[in-house]
């Protein structure tokens, strides 16, 4: 469970850079997740690549694809961009579902375990350490980026694209780099998930999964790296708790999503931060 949380958190931290900081929208990030997962799975299982090389290649290839499609579609704004990313995600999930000779179709395919230099990585503890380290590394890199001038440039883009251009920020290039970085994070996490679970199905590239990811980011708090991690943690574990309620699971999940967004519109972490800041000022 903690491992899944960590993997989702890696995707969310990357997605948060794009959505929370650069102010763009993506309703198709599960597409990148799925491409990384299936890419690595296919290279390892069907072509006998060493899993680590498969993972690296799949992630890099997804990054290149993100770079190629990012350039035209990031010219779109708001809901139009949402539609374009949505379309991309659905295209990936349909292709993955239909090319059953390579991908195993709707039933999915099995994935060989990850191995480094011949040593197979199995066992929860080893994976726990790997994912924890990778998550910390991702968070560290994200925080560095945000605190740097490039991070300011991204936030400026979000604040006002026209003013950002007026001070010399190349909006198109920065949006694209945020897009590609978040795609790389999603693809890497996807590939890792596939090797960890030993199995991958098309549902990991579905529209519903894209929605889950964006909900984690918004719920935790946009423009907050901690928020992305918290959001991933809560929304990965919550459905597990809700399965106790069996057939009421969906109703409760939907209700929870709605209520938290109505009463904490900025997301969990920023709302808590404000409450803490307000409490600290109270003694006066």
């Amino acid at each position: 469970m903690a491992i899944l949380v960590g993997l989702n958190a890696i995707v969310c931290v990357g997605l948060n850079l794009l959505v929370g900081f650069a102010g763009q929208v993506s309703l198709g990030h599960a597409g990148f997740f799925g491409l990384g997962a299936y890419g690595s799975a296919i290279l390892a299982a069907r072509y006998g690549w060493p899993p680590l090389a498969a993972l690296a290649a799949a992630t890099a290839a997804t990054g290149v694809l993100a770079w190629l499609i990012g350039r035209p579609i990031l010219r779109l704004k708001g809901h139009y961009l949402a539609m374009a990313t949505l379309g991309f995600g659905i295209i990936v999930s349909i292709v993955v579902s239909n090319e059953d000779r390579i991908t195993g179709g709707p039933d999915g395919m099995s994935v060989p375990p990850l191995s480094i230099l011949g040593y197979a990585i199995v066992g929860e503890r080893t994976w726990y350490w790997i994912v924890a380290t990778l998550l910390l590394a991702t968070v560290w890199v994200a925080l560095n980026l945000i605190d740097s001038p490039r991070g300011r440039a991204l936030r400026a883009l979000h604040g006002s694209e026209v003013a950002a251009e007026a001070i010399g920020i190349d909006a198109a290039r920065h949006k694209l780099s945020a897009f590609v970085i978040s795609a790389l994070a999603a693809a890497a996490a996807g590939a890792l998930t596939a090797h960890y679970a030993g199995f991958i199905t098309p549902s990991k590239a579905s529209f519903l999964h894209s929605i889950e990811l964006i909900t984690m980011v918004v719920f935790g708090g946009m423009a907050s790296t901690l928020g992305a991690v918290v959001g991933a943690a809560v929304l990965t574990t919550l459905p597990q708790f809700l399965t106790v309620f069996k057939e009421y699971e969906m109703v409760l999940l939907g209700a929870v999503m709605m209520l938290t967004m109505i009463f904490m519109p900025r997301g969990l972490v920023p709302t808590l931060e404000r409450a803490l800041a307000a409490a600290r000022r109270k003694p006066l």
Binding site: V141, N144, L145, D147, S148, P149, R150, G151, R152, A153, R155, A156, H158, G159, S160, V162, A163, A164, E165, A166, I167, G168, I169, D170, A171, A172, A223
Partner: protein
């Protein structure tokens, strides 16, 4: 010649916002662009900084043609801009807004950013000090760490100027900096523009406040229906019969 605009034409559908406009901006002076509402003043500024592409004609910055260039390339060529409708980065503090303005002068490689190298920390400190100096220059040092959405309107106008200055522009386009300000705030802006002019920044000012314009400019251009109606020193323009007619109507 710092900036030269030749035969600018900008059309929106059937409406001609700018027609056959020539303009020369000399370094070191304060130029003002005045005219009735709808004369095309903001459109002209938008063309001069690359937000709009003219249908005909071209803009040259320091004799380099800027045809087909994106706004951030205009900025890199030395054009700075403030906006009639505030475009403050409301998701950042006042200081961060000004620090963001320094983008063109930051040397920050992706590697240094991602790995938080010491060179970055030094650069950030220098950036912060310069930004604080600019805030003091425009009189906003008290608001340094305030979230920019808590600043009053007049302060925000000055913040935009500070941000534009952070890019060290050769030419600063000010779009109605005194719009919506009360007399006290207008006086402050007036003094700020004088300080700017004295420090050597070339300014192109679009303003309706005639006292401000006539007091601070060396050169005035009058637009009417997208065409240049008159230009010259403030006194010459003030007495030009065509200008009087356009502003006050014939027979005044």
């Amino acid at each position: 010649m710092l900036l030269r605009a030749e035969n600018l034409c900008k059309r929106f559908g059937g409406v001609s916002a700018l027609e056959a406009l020539d303009l020369e901006i000399e370094a070191g002076a304060v130029h003002s662009i005045i005219g009735p509402n709808g004369a095309g003043k903001t459109t002209l500024l938008n063309v001069l900084c690359g937000i709009y592409r003219p249908e005909e004609g071209r803009v040259r910055v320091q004799e380099k043609s800027m045809v087909g260039r994106a706004p951030h390339e205009f900025a890199a060529a030395g054009i700075g801009r403030t906006f009639q409708n505030l475009q403050i980065f409301f998701n950042m503090s006042a200081l961060e807004n000004v620090m963001a303005g320094r983008w063109l002068h930051e040397r920050c490689s992706l590697a240094a950013a991602l790995a938080r190298l010491p060179s970055l920390a030094r650069a950030e400190r220098a950036c912060r000090i310069e930004a604080e100096a600019l805030l003091a220059f425009v009189g906003l040092e008290a608001w340094r760490d305030a979230p920019s959405d808590t600043l009053p309107y007049g302060a925000l106008k000055r913040l935009e100027i500070a941000r534009a200055l952070a890019a060290k522009p050769a030419l600063l386009l000010l779009d109605e900096p005194a719009a919506g300000l009360n007399p006290t705030e207008t006086l402050e802006i007036d003094r700020l523009i004088q300080r700017l002019a004295a420090s050597g920044v070339t300014i192109v000012l679009v303003e309706h406040n005639m006292k401000l314009v006539m007091g601070v400019s060396q050169h005035v251009v009058v637009l009417d229906y997208g065409r240049k109606l008159a230009e010259g020193s403030p006194d010459a323009v003030r007495r030009d019969p065509k200008v009087i007619e356009a502003y006050l109507g014939a027979g005044a």
